[in-house]
Symmetry: C2
Subunit: 347 residues, 2 copies
Amino acid sequence: MIKKTSLKDIAQAVGVSTALVSYVLNNQKENRISKEVARKIRQVAQELNYQPNQIAKSLKTSKTRTLGLIVADIANPFSSSMARIVEDEADRQGYTVVFGSSDENPQKCQKLITTLLNRQVDGLLIAAPAGTESQIMTLQKQTVPFVLIDRYFPSLKTSYLALDNYQSTYDAVRHLVDSGYQRIGLITLKTSLFHITERTRGYQSALQENGLPFQKSRVKELSGNNPTPDVAKAIQLLRTGQDPVDAIVFTTNSLTFWGLKAIKSQHINLPSELAVVGFDETDAYELFDTSITYIRQPLQEMGQLATKILLESLNPNTPITQTNLKATLVIQASTQSLSVPAVQSAE
Amino acid sequence: MIKKTSLKDIAQAVGVSTALVSYVLNNQKENRISKEVARKIRQVAQELNYQPNQIAKSLKTSKTRTLGLIVADIANPFSSSMARIVEDEADRQGYTVVFGSSDENPQKCQKLITTLLNRQVDGLLIAAPAGTESQIMTLQKQTVPFVLIDRYFPSLKTSYLALDNYQSTYDAVRHLVDSGYQRIGLITLKTSLFHITERTRGYQSALQENGLPFQKSRVKELSGNNPTPDVAKAIQLLRTGQDPVDAIVFTTNSLTFWGLKAIKSQHINLPSELAVVGFDETDAYELFDTSITYIRQPLQEMGQLATKILLESLNPNTPITQTNLKATLVIQASTQSLSVPAVQSAE
DNA sequence: TTATCACGTTTAAACGATTAAACCTTTTTT
DNA sequence: AAAAAAGGTTTAATCGTTTAAACGTGATAA
């Protein structure tokens, strides 16, 4: 690469010290500097197309104006949508974003944290994988500014921005019950992640508080290792036997996707044979036969607020902020009320 | 943030100069340094949990081990899949990735380039928006290492890694012709981007070289401003009148998606009423009634090779590399041969 | 005995910015 | 006329590394 212009080059060209150039270009000490010299400096800077070296600036100020974003997998629509929102909000405040995918793997997560901190990011947005409590605690001990997004640990007093997961599935089940469904199954992930277990808890409470029995056999926890067959099997199991379910709630976007694939290949008719509530919004739903009722996370708000809170907490002594945003249940044809005749699915 | 350990801290603790510490920790001058001192330094570094400050290192070496990635929109599956592949390959070689979304906007692209260069990224991977030739030329003049991905400019002698776009649609049309379709329409984007116009050219050649007339009325160029209605209308136009098409080829993943949505809402039966070839692979296809024949880009190879080439070209005097990878036509039910009876769509 | 060499380590400049403090002039105040 | 203030600019240290060159010291060679 061709050497870029430095302060020194400008200083030399104008015949002043680098300090003066720095002051002028940063609009400091404005009343002290002669108009004429300032003009000249600005002009030469322009001519030489001066662009400050952020690395040098960062070294001196120990601010990089860069945020680190750790997601599960940037190729996952949830992550990439989040990334986009974070990018925009960061950009609005003059920050750039470095990202990394943890693949839900604690070791990878640790490696990412270390790498990003070595690059001196000013703060971190983390969708923490299961088993990373200690890493997060360490960050906190080091007083690294960070905000957890999507996932968080109830045992840790850290800033986070997440969903009200409990309420999200509670509302979904409640809606199913209101629509006349009585035997509601849940397909979820086998994980210790709080945000997921909360979804199961919401499901369970909704059943019980609405006078329906909670049956363990109606909850299928999948490992996520070979999802497509596992989900297909789970659906089959839930729908067979002497007490088949009439509705299924999925607790993640991937599960929903795999579930719909299975439903399609098993030729199950929605909602007449089975009602379905999906998690998260996906383009893919729009190509599915029946329009899908789903739990919508306020992604935009989540990403934007998380970024704002992080940028805020770059200032010392900012208090911890814990936010659980409410999900919206988007009601469509896949949970058509049993009491009314089915209508054409929405487009 | 708590101050991190620096070379100086270690030097002080051990009672040697920072230079020696640096040499030891970088495994330099190994034969010159006494085993005992080296051991001590390593031990103290470990104890103090020393992590080199990459910013300082970068300033000195003018290498950041960071790559800049400019995509159209990180929230788009094509971009995010690409990002993931780039991330992995970069990581494998010890690089991190900073990204930005151009939204196909030249101004935004320029801003991103400037920002990334100010942060001293070592090189750039760019999916260039239309109208950014001059920006790319400037980069080249500055001898900034970069590789264009997906899009490129035939007029510029730059490194790029893209698809053989011409061949991709040529093959698709050829396949349609072979399957008995004779009146083939194209839905594409109104753009000057070479990779898209090449797709139109491939379509046209395939028709002509197979003895079919090329009719301008069968090519619909959409602005992409309000896609859903526009695509729906284009499909309607193509299928009505005295000479309706019996097949449609889409030239981008978004167009395909919108197209399928329209096809679903217009209750068009595939392939009996219309054959369809989509562009790119998408999860969404899997939820669609009919399995879709589509043009698959070798994303993995593209991202990985592009990254490798970029990293390679960080070394001075690396020659320009221009690569057009072949697409694969994944044949499914939506282009079922007219001469054989339709079978169950693949799952 | 003195020059040469090897060994282990330190010195100090450099990367490109920032910024408090110092330094001249000139002008204003007393 | 001397002191103080204001105006305009420079000096020099600093951030945390890297690295060529120099520096002692003890051993070896001439």
